[in-house]
């Protein structure tokens, strides 16, 4: 992500909608991570609103909503950025062909710890442990190793590390931001007297 402009002036790009769309497509074809609108805009040399429009029209176009055929791939927004995906209905086909390794599943303990971190971040290990009432060190290590959580900062008083979730988690969940996590307060509604409800989203 080249946020700073180089001193060298980038070449002027045509700014009509069709050209912007083509350039966005070109970049999407070579990237290997979701690209935010800002980084797409930087890459194609167009203002963010134009790029947003280009992305929106590509999404509709690939979905067959603009008169053309529905494509075998789609443009999805995950983890705060845009990326080309095989359309879900063809995933089996692709898996047979590329014979990927089966990803190893997370244990129940890891899933629950992940849920705690996702909803209560930033959170320290001892805070997680007090909710889970078990030692969570090895589970936290697993989640770190998978890149699903990350160390955020050390508590200024105690020095304890605070953990939070990563964009990779969002990508792995297929969502675009933490706001898309299901609300869990309804689960707490009954009889949650004395509960610190506002901490829970």
């Amino acid at each position: 992500m080249t946020d700073e402009n180089d001193t060298a002036e980038p070449p002027a790009r045509p700014q009509d909608a069709a050209s912007v769309i083509r350039r966005v497509e070109a970049i999407l074809l070579v990237v290997d991570e979701p690209q935010s609108l800002v980084s797409l805009a930087t890459a194609v040399g167009s203002p963010v609103p134009a790029v947003r429009q280009a992305v929106e029209s590509l999404v509709a176009d690939y979905d067959g909503e603009t008169g053309g055929p529905r494509r075998g791939f789609e443009l999805r927004e995950v983890g705060g950025g845009w990326r080309l995906y095989v359309r879900e209905e063809h995933d089996d086909l692709v898996r047979e062909y590329v014979s990927g390794q089966a990803p190893s599943r997370l244990s129940q303990a890891a899933l629950e710890t992940l849920a705690v971190i996702a909803y209560k971040q930033p959170i320290t290990r001892s805070q997680i442990a007090s909710i889970r009432a078990v030692n969570v060190d090895s589970v936290v290590r697993t989640l770190l190793g998978r890149g699903l959580i990350t160390e955020l900062f050390a508590d200024p008083d105690t020095g304890a590390l605070n953990y939070g979730t990563t964009d990779a988690l969002l990508v792995n969940l297929g969502i675009n931001s933490l706001d898309e996590l299901p609300p869990i307060s309804p689960l707490l509604d009954d009889g949650s007297t004395g509960f610190d409800a506002e901490i829970i989203r």
Partner: protein, 285 residues
């Protein structure tokens, strides 16, 4: 969109208002059988959380006994389920303790404190259940997304030439030093609290000392075991390590009168120092 607990999946009565009559259909997990209640553990928790069952009416020691019996029968494959229960068990035990404390008169500070404590316990229980239930959403989403394929292909050669040439400055020795750093066991960093407390004493280390001394001597008094030690923490750790070793059936002890001489005897027929590695793990937190 609260995900319903797994136990209720696929049954028509999947809502929180599941009638108690439906309990026969749900759950193949741990069941409890009590005077006032007969059904799966999950439902019990649900009823308690809705205050439909007063916790004091439920014989907690009976739940605990049945629970331990259930855990014993769990195979290694079901460890996850067991660990899931640990939180619940801990909470129940807390409740039991709260329930056993003398209740005193109707309105006094202690009773109020007790009620508050019980509410906190409910809150903890509910919070735990909420995270447990929402974790099924995480699992579903992760599994669904695992199947998705995204474009992730190597750059064409002609574009790869645009990648700036690598600047390499490391010698082989630098590289080896880096490797060592990478291989150094990574402890999750801990905060030093030495300035706040007496230095931490490792029960494991003290157990190693006890094993060495006792295995040589065969029989020792605890007094001998701690002779010359002035640091209280060390003595306590050494005593705890004796208890831990007793748990591992590595030693037996004898005390003829209260506060009298404590005689330790090494009894382990097979003892490997590997046992030390896990010893005292309960105290690790």
């Amino acid at each position: 969109m609260a995900p319903s607990p797994e136990h209720h999946e696929g049954t028509p009565a999947a809502s929180a208002e599941a009638p108690v009559t439906a309990i026969e259909d749900v759950g193949d997990g741990f069941r409890v059988s009590l005077g006032v209640f007969d059904g799966p553990f999950d439902l019990l928790l649900q009823l308690i959380s809705q205050h439909e069952l007063d916790i004091t009416e439920v014989s907690l020691s009976r739940v605990t006994d049945e629970f331990i019996g259930y855990l014993k029968d769990l195979g290694p494959d079901e460890l996850d389920e067991a660990s899931e229960f640990l939180v619940v068990a801990a909470t129940l035990l807390d409740m039991k303790v709260a329930g056993l404390l003398p209740q005193g008169e109707l309105v006094d500070a202690e009773a109020v404190a007790l009620l508050e404590a019980r509410d906190l316990l409910f809150a903890r229980l509910l919070q735990y259940r909420a995270f447990k239930e929402v974790s099924t959403w995480f699992e579903r989403s992760l599994r669904r997304e695992d199947k998705r394929h995204t474009r992730s292909v190597k750059l064409e050669d002609k574009h790869r030439s645009a990648v700036p040439e690598l600047v390499w400055t490391l010698s082989a020795d630098d590289f080896a030093a880096l490797a060592m750093m990478a291989f150094a066991p990574k402890e999750i960093p801990l905060v030093g609290v030495d300035h706040l407390h007496a230095p931490l004493v490792s029960i494991r280390e003290q157990a190693a000392v006890v094993v060495t001394l006792l295995r040589d001597a065969g029989t020792l008094n605890f007094r001998d075991l701690v002779s010359g030690i002035t640091q209280t923490g060390l003595i306590v750790a050494r005593f705890l390590s004796v208890l831990e070793l007793y748990r591992h059936a590595a030693l037996s002890f004898e005390q003829l009168e209260p506060l009298g001489e404590l005689t330790l005897r090494w009894t382990a027929s097979r003892w490997s120092d590997e046992n030390l590695a896990t010893l005292g793990a309960d105290y690790d937190r």
